[in-house]
Symmetry: C2
Subunit: 190 residues, 2 copies
DNA sequence: AAAATTACTTACCAGTTAGTAAGTATTGTA
DNA sequence: TACAATACTTACTAACTGGTAAGTAATTTT
């Protein structure tokens, strides 16, 4: 009801992210968000005129966060194994919460997305793949990691294992996901 | 309009599968199906009373097909590499058609599915994983394949690479998917 | 103190969703 | 030839979808 610096917008982004990770982009509505936040659906439209604006906002948040993570990985003091573990930990947390990877979730609905969102999603994916690729390359150079594939291919193999792994885990159980992670690290770390 | 042995039901199953693989389960409607088949939406409801019945029917078809494939794999004359290639080929075909894995697509919407579908989906996943596990185990025993993980874990790693790989390919390009497949085979085949 | 801005609510809407009840034409069966 | 059964169509509905226009109260700026 006022012009105080609002946290509603942040709450909508948070909840939208949670819905996508829990039910999928095309399975939640503005009504779901407004009910949970005890506001009217028009308030959601005030912050995000269309549903595509909300998704764009969520992806932009992710791009920002992964840019920060990539920047923090610039520190040469951190071991490659530790960087890998930081990435894996993010997915482990999702798994424990019964959620799935946002990128993996949105990818399914790719053909239903407007161009503005497709562009952002592609940017986010290349950002993540590029970041992991760099970690792998450096780790190999320093003799901390081992793999025979190109860093690009290995980063795709790793991320598809993690993203689809958490989706599998939601159905076949978390033990399977843990086994996947252990295997990935054992295989990569010298 | 008649009591001839209908192919409408099969057409609905086919189109439903295509929609799930192209747009996702929660992104298509009975209207989409009826329009494309030039029938009324009530005709779709005649064959599949609810949308969950349609999805159940589609998954049942997949269970049937994978049971057949698993049975054909019982033939000890077929090399493990050939069996692997048969599985990979299915995903390559999807990739070329701009579609994604049905299981991968439905997994995203898992929490929005009724119990009857969840049960079937779990059965299908365990069927596929079990089939691949068997191929891997036998291939290793015969000295045709190599891997250090358990067959169960390796089958999950392989299938998550394929399923998420085709989703990635739809965004970053088919070259990436081809590179993934080549790497998987090179790694596994002795 | 007036004007503008922010962050909403109220009240609405057109289109779409899955779904149903009743009727109809065609075909196979007793 | 009567009678089911099949495979639909016609006609409808209640609930929900994303979305908007207009109003309001609190705050910030001028």
């Amino acid at each position: 009801m006022a012009a105080r610096p609002t946290d509603t917008k942040e709450a909508i982004l948070r909840l939208g992210t949670e819905f996508i990770q829990t039910y999928g982009y095309n399975a939640f509505s503005y009504a779901d968000i407004s009910k949970e936040l005890h506001i009217k659906n028009a308030a959601v439209h005030y912050h995000f005129p269309g549903k595509e604006d909300l998704l764009a906002g969520i992806i932009d948040q992710y791009i920002h966060r992964y840019r920060e993570l990539a920047k923090s990985f610039g520190n040469p003091g951190i071991a490659a194994k530790q960087k890998l573990q930081a990435i894996i930990s993010r997915y482990s947390l999702l798994c424990e919460q019964g959620k799935i990877c946002l990128i993996g979730s949105v990818c399914t609905d790719y053909n239903t997305l407007p161009e503005s969102v497709k562009t952002r999603l592609t940017e986010l994916i290349e950002l993540v793949l590029g970041m992991v690729e760099k970690v792998l390359k450096e780790g190999k150079k320093k003799g901390e990691l081992q793999f025979t594939e190109t860093a690009r291919v290995k980063s795709m193999l790793l991320m598809t294992n993690l993203a689809a792994g958490v989706q599998l885990a939601r159905i076949t159980g978390q033990k399977d996901y843990t086994a996947i992670c252990n295997s990935l690290l054992k295989q990569l770390v010298v």
